[in-house]
């Protein structure tokens, strides 16, 4: 076999040549010496690390993407994604909130840690769904429909929010209680308002950095729940 040319030697570094060429490389000292020079050079190419992104990055990308999706599909997505888990969460929250606030000892099957974990995950889910709604509204242009879907969703979230807020307060978690308080006022405004109130709602959200706070609290709560 004839000697390998520079292209073959370079591609051999990446194991992108035929087996025959690799065999030749092992047997031919001349080609091996030339290959070693290329290998040393490529081994010493600088690293090109990309900044790290957290595990939740994909979800954040999706949340930022939702407002840019074509409106019809966006609304359809908003309704299934946010409404479906709401009922299940509500039941779980009501059950756990009752157990936590009344200090019931009649159901020993679930440990305190497990109860807290489920509650934190339910809280995180609630905050995420609220976040989706807030992102949707923040990016919605004025006069874009009657907000029917958003109002229905806000009504569902208000009930859930109230339970969570009371639970947080009764367990002494005042920072979460305060945030849920702020969130509830905005949710009520969305639930009871019309399309004309969109600007007022946006101003209220921006005024107290609500979206940012909800995002941070949601991530922290989920992390806390996962650690338990």
């Amino acid at each position: 076999m004839t000697h390998l040319d520079e292209e073959q030697l370079t591609l051999a570094y990446y194991r992108e040549v035929e087996a025959e060429s690799l065999c030749h490389l092992e047997e031919c000292a001349e080609c091996k010496a030339r290959f070693d020079r290329i290998k040393t050079s490529l081994d010493n190419f600088p690293e090109y690390p990309a900044p790290e992104r957290e595990d939740s990055y994909g979800r954040d990308v999706w949340l930022r993407l939702v407002p840019q999706l074509p409106v019809k599909n966006r609304r359809r997505w908003l309704s299934w994604w946010t409404m479906a888990p709401a009922f299940a969460s509500l039941v779980a929250i009501a059950f756990l909130a009752g157990m936590l606030t009344q200090r019931s000892r009649q159901i020993p099957a679930i440990s305190a840690e497990a109860r807290e974990r489920v509650l934190l995950m339910a809280m995180s889910d609630h905050l995420e769904r609220s976040q989706i709604l807030l992102v949707e509204l923040a990016h919605m242009p004025a006069g874009d429909g009657e907000l029917k879907t958003e109002r229905a969703l806000a009504r569902d979230l208000v009930g859930e929010n109230r339970l969570l807020r009371e639970t947080a307060r009764s367990t002494g978690d005042m920072s979460r209680a305060a945030l849920l308080d702020d969130l509830e006022r905005v949710l009520l405004a969305i639930a009871n308002g019309g399309a004309d109130d969109l600007n007022a709602i946006k101003e209220r959200m921006q005024g107290n950095d609500l979206l940012f706070k909800v995002r941070v609290m949601s991530a922290n709560t989920r992390q806390e729940g996962q650690k338990l």
Binding site: Y14, S41, P46, A50, Y57, G58, L65, R76
Partner: protein
């Protein structure tokens, strides 16, 4: 529900938003990594991630489920990145004076940018040298090299991503390596 890429892509084509969300969640980090390495800028990379998935969402009906979704989304990301790089280059070229660059000039410039080992040892400068060198490659060379050297993709997949023959992908990687070896010679000397 845990989706495989194939099932999620199929469901997304039928209009299932959950399926598309699952694909976004799964592939965002790798798309970001590729976009960053293509552009060398974090904010650009963030914007490109959004643009890539928005395009994918609008074109999901064109996705042929016989190929991998990862390859398809990489193709979109690479093209979006190249579009951005080209538009930046055009703007720069319009602004630059005619005497600024010629094909031999850039190699000399990069190679002799600052050969002192102390300064080259600084990683920021090395990265900057690498970015300068990458900027001088053709679109095909740059993308093929990044996909092969930094992303570890095989030639067959690179060919699919770039929509070229395998041999063209191989040549592009080789030409990129040749140019970069010359440009990065000072770094290699320091490292040895």
């Amino acid at each position: 529900m845990e989706w495989t890429d194939q099932v999620a892509a199929e469901e997304a084509r039928k209009g299932d938003q959950r399926a598309f969300a699952a694909l976004v969640e799964r592939h965002s980090r790798s798309v970001f990594r590729l976009a960053f390495r293509m552009t060398g800028n974090e904010q650009d990379a963030e914007d490109l991630v959004q643009e890539t998935f928005l395009k994918a969402y609008k074109q999901i009906h064109k996705f042929d489920n016989r190929s991998a979704f990862g390859t398809w989304i990489y193709r979109i990301a690479a093209n979006c990145s190249l579009d951005l790089i080209r538009s930046r280059k055009n703007r720069k070229e319009q602004q630059a004076s005619a005497a600024d660059n010629d094909q031999t000039g850039w190699l000399e410039q990069v190679a002799a940018a600052d050969p002192s080992p102390e300064r080259l040892a600084r990683s920021g400068q090395i990265t900057s040298l690498l970015k300068q060198a990458l900027d001088q490659l053709t679109d095909l060379e740059r993308t093929a090299f990044i996909l092969r050297h930094y992303e570890g993709r095989g030639i067959a997949e690179i060919a699919r991503i770039l929509d070229v023959e395998a041999n063209a992908a191989k040549h592009s990687v080789f030409r990129a390596v040749q140019k970069l070896r010359r440009a990065l010679q000072p770094v290699a000397e320091v490292a040895q």
